[in-house]
């Protein structure tokens, strides 16, 4: 029997990118999946087909997780279709890439609502559906929560909130039998990168990551799957960093080049 056979995961923003890779990884371990998407229906429908081809059940639900009413509808959908939930992955993220002085209230709220508040509201709804099921919640963060990247302030701050919330959820949800953690990645080769980067950065990142290649969506998905496994039961409230060594060796590229 596959490790996640008979379990159900809801993954926000799983029509593409890291969310999709996570959906496919959990499905390959036997997990049924509810794919949530927002703007890209075609991509999400394709993902659902790919999941079903792995022999598990997959359903599609459209919801803007920045809107509390839509979060409620998404969980109503899961409750109606399944009546239970084992795994919730808070992966969807959006935001505005702007320097600090150009971040207006609208941009700030948009980013915070989707990236941080959504986890709170989703976790509150997930509890009921996870009752007696040894639930798991994993949020997806980024190294921009701790390090300063150009035009990343709004998103970086939202990710810091997400990580702090993950710690609080881990403790307050432990009595409900729910295990909560986060996975944080450095730059991952997905479409999202296009918004933040200059030309040629992907090539540079390959060279400057100590492991010698960029982090892939599958690297992140693998760690998420581990956090959903029995082996990870005693890991609580942690943010596991997946970055090929970048954050522990920030000066490695300079030293290797001999500039130091």
């Amino acid at each position: 029997m596959k490790p996640l056979q008979g379990k159900l995961a809801l993954i926000t923003g799983s029509g593409r990118g890291i969310g999709k890779a996570t959906a496919l990884k959990l499905a390959s371990e036997g997990c049924d999946i509810v794919v949530n998407f927002f703007r890209r229906r075609e991509a999400a429908e394709k993902t659902v087909e790919e999941i079903r081809a792995l022999g598990v059940r997959a359903e599609l639900v459209r919801a803007n997780v920045g809107d509390p009413a839509k979060i409620a509808e998404m969980f109503d959908f899961v409750a109606d279709k399944f009546g239970y939930l084992d795994i919730f992955i808070s992966n969807a993220a959006s935001g505005v890439g702007r320097p600090i002085f150009d971040i207006d209230e609208k941009a700030w709220n948009w980013t915070m609502d989707i990236n941080a508040k959504a986890l709170l509201l989703c976790a509150q709804r997930a509890v009921g559906l996870m009752a007696g099921r040894n639930g798991r919640i994993v949020s997806i963060s980024s190294l921009g929560s701790k390090f300063v990247w150009p035009t990343y302030a709004a998103v970086g701050v939202s990710k810091a909130a997400l990580e702090a919330l993950t710690r609080y959820l881990a403790i307050e949800m432990a009595p409900h039998g729910i295990c909560v953690n986060a996975v944080s990645a450095s730059a991952v080769d997905t479409e999202a990168l296009k918004f933040y980067i200059r030309e040629g950065l992907v090539k540079d990142l390959k060279q400057t990551t100590p492991v010698g290649r960029m982090v892939t969506p599958e690297d992140v998905a693998g760690v998420v799957a581990f956090l959903c496994s029995d082996e990870a039961y005693m890991i609580r409230g942690q943010t596991i960093i997946v970055d090929g060594g970048t954050s522990v060796a920030p000066f490695a590229p300079m030293i290797q080049k001999g500039d130091g």
Binding site: R39, R40, R41, E42, A43, R62, N64, V96, K106, A107, W110
Partner: protein
């Protein structure tokens, strides 16, 4: 009010632009609407008419008129 006028209202409020500069031939770029304005306008229009405008469709709009025509078609489909 026509669908076109209603959409103009929504876009002008969200992107803080004067309604009079929104024409069918105009593009969001010319109206100085940024990507957040655009997605919020799309969401507001979706909610007003209870329709869906996926990005895959929105990306095909070359100007405001295409946007309006798409919405009119979807609204007509709903009857």
């Amino acid at each position: 009010m026509s669908v076109e006028e209603e959409i103009k209202d929504i876009v002008s409020k969200i992107a803080h632009i004067d309604k009079s500069i929104i024409t069918r031939e105009g593009t969001f770029k010319e109206m100085k609407a940024d990507s957040l304005d655009i997605v919020q306008a799309l969401v507001a229009v979706e909610e007003k008419y209870d329709i869906e405008i996926p990005d895959e469709e929105a990306q095909k709009f070359t100007n405001f008129g295409d946007f309006v025509s798409f919405v009119e078609k979807e609204v007509a489909k709903k009857g």
